[in-house]
Symmetry: C2
Subunit: 419 residues, 2 copies
């Protein structure tokens, strides 16, 4: 089937009626002229839906945005990088609310119509003295062509910005979906702060939008997430304003199915780009599990393999080590029968019936040496399937993550904290 | 309380009535003159107990030894390093049984009285043509002073051998316990092959011995194990032959309690030594969790923290990063209340009530820079407690584990496999 959507240029301001802006407030470093605060705004009323981290330690902006999305018609998303505003207690919540109030007032919105997101270091209070004076500029500079700036402003250890836009025809009328995301700071995605903002000029009820968002997140960001574990700040927020002029999209219709496909594509592309740009990642690995007793068992196997430090280290070394893979399958807690397990690497048989296959090592090695490859694991028990998108583990990753200490010391000197 | 046991010299041959030997068969490298096969033997009849990997992919010798311990009075342990005899199908089981039969015959034992263990690479068949001719020498050379050779023969990526012996007075008569172990090849212990063999001249029924072993393993090797996950080959086997002349140790008695304490000490020392000698480990970290709702919750928190790549990377970099620790606490799935969490590093407050403590960063940093330190996490909810022994994660670990490929290539050349 040819796809019902088409990729177009741009990001969150591609859909009609959305404007955006980004400014530099010096949150992380007062002397650096780096974009670190962004605003996405729908010029007309819209519906909003979001999904947030399941981590029980939740950053202040997550708590605030969850309440806002529940209680009001959110029309604006305010986001900063450089400071996660996590583990900052009551002050953190007050700070998050204050920024929403200031921006809301300037936009003529209630505080609760502004969602707030943060990403960055945990445990430091927000440098409000630097942030507050820049908020009026942020609102005044809102315009249609600023999606790239927003995608750049939310980056932390990302090496490249991530944005996308697609067009899908609904009842003969072009509807657009735009998005930006920031990353998989870390290889193990449950440790990353992941942010994704999606805009669309489709018209959907809040209930319909929520269902579409849940399905898309399940097939994308949750596929790069381990066991439902997430960082303190992970947030996906979607705004739909109906400005395309296309009829309202109702559940269980042809149009809804098409919109869902387009939204799935947008989120999956963003999710994959996070893995590809994981810290010091050199390979993109798709782990497909089939033949499991249940969906849940397939997921356990995929996650055990995709999160094994040993398996990931071998991928980094171009080592087609199926022994480590079957070992991870064995401890996944899924029901297995060792003598039924088949493992293919890049389409070549590495292990058949729990035993080494006849494929030449050099052929397997060439597959693992590629930038991207697939591991297919068939448990040959039943129909359970699951796919997860993963990466290798490099010595450089560990080295990169050995210490944030230098940054913290500097933060003290800059007067960002009490010491 | 002063301890009821005293450390003495030696290992598995310290208790009366045990002899041992180790030889070089060239399992991994036919040209290397490295000890790689060992035998531990009780000269008189004895009782035996063991615990084995919970990995659902089980190596052939694990399957064989489980059956032998269930069906017979095991008196000998035959063990090799260099090849795990895992994922080797029916041939692997036949090979394991054959070695037990040959050694048993030479010792005048039934095949089922010989337990068999292997550690090494997964997926390669055992080079039986090299092993079989050396088995007679292995039996003929059995003697009292060879415990060190046994400890050396079972090493794989261990950098040092591990053995211990203690003496405990039971009813006025000295009873000895000896042990050797091989390691935590890997930092994440569920990926290590762990072997531990314990001998004692105490007299215990099979049932009493089994209970003592279960308790000791739970407090030691399971504390360096994640979630019950283990390698395909993990095995702990204990032989008790009663040669000390002390009265039989019955459950629920003072003597049993003393024996248990001594056995706990022996296994915990071995377990800790595995962590310390983990591949490219530079620090020994004790993670204590208190105040959890349940024991199980405390365990979840301890395991989440002790297995977080990010937390472990920061330890490697001497970074007292409590933000990463509380983040792992948050995704552990344990019940928590963020605002109640206290974290101490090396006895100094790092986080109190979910917020940064006043302790100077430099003081915390000094604690994390030490070779060994403790992380205390108090959830301040209830009475659940758990302790786990962990380590840092170094760039060198990943580098070390990037490829076993060179070895495999060599194994092919040496004719160890079918290609």
């Amino acid at each position: 089937m040819s796809s019902v959507y088409r990729k177009i240029k741009g990001g969150v301001t591609a859909p009609k009626g959305f404007i955006a802006n980004a400014v530099s407030t010096g949150i992380k470093n007062p002397n650096a002229d780096r974009l670190d605060m962004a605003l996405i705004y729908s010029e007309v009323s819209c519906t909003a839906a979001g999904t947030f981290t399941t981590n029980r330690v939740k950053a202040a902006p997550v708590r605030v945005s969850q309440a806002h999305l529940r209680d009001a018609d959110v029309r604006a998303i305010l986001v900063n990088s450089g400071n996660a505003n996590a583990c900052t207690g009551v002050k953190g919540v007050k700070d998050a609310r204050l920024t929403a109030r200031i921006v809301g007032k300037k936009l003529g919105l209630k505080q609760s119509q502004v969602a707030v997101c943060s990403t960055g270091v945990i445990g430091l209070p927000m440098p409000m003295a630097r942030i507050e004076p820049k908020l009026p500029d942020l609102v005044e500079g809102l315009e249609r062509m600023k999606s790239l700036s927003v995608a750049q402003a939310i980056m932390t250890s990302d090496t490249t910005h991530k944005q996308i836009a697609v067009r899908v025809m609904i009842d003969g009328i072009p509807v657009k979906i735009g998005a930006c995301a920031k990353g998989a700071g870390m290889i193990n995605p449950h440790m990353a702060t992941m942010l994704c903002f999606v805009t669309t000029d489709a018209k959907l009820s809040k209930a319909a939008l929520s269902k579409c968002v849940t399905e898309s997140v399940e097939g994308s960001f949750n596929r790069i997430t381990i066991d439902g574990d997430m960082s303190t700040n992970d947030s996906v927020i979607v705004l739909a304003n109906g400005e395309s002029g296309a009829p309202a999209i109702k559940r269980q219709t042809k149009w809804c199915k098409m919109f869902q496909q387009a939204l799935n594509f947008v989120m999956l592309e963003m999710a994959k780009s996070l893995v590809r740009d994981g810290e010091r990642v050199t390979k993109f690995v798709t782990v497909n599990v089939r033949g499991a007793r249940t969906f849940s068992d397939a997921r356990k196997v995929a996650e055990a393999v995709a999160n094994s430090s040993l398996v990931k280290s071998s991928w980094n070394g171009n080592d087609p080590n199926w022994g480590r893979i079957i070992h991870a399958v064995g401890y996944s807690k899924a029901m297995i029968r060792e003598e039924l397990i088949d493992i293919h690497i890049g389409g070549l048989a590495a292990c058949i019936g729990g035993l080494e296959a006849k494929t030449k090592m050099d052929s397997l090695r060439k597959k693992v040496a590629a930038d991207a490859f697939t591991i297919d694991i068939n448990l040959n028990l039943c129909e359970g399937e699951y796919t997860i998108y993963s990466s290798d583990l490099s010595p450089e990753y560990v080295d990169f993550n050995r210490s944030e200490y230098a940054y913290w010391k500097q933060a003290r000197k800059d007067g960002l904290t009490q010491q």
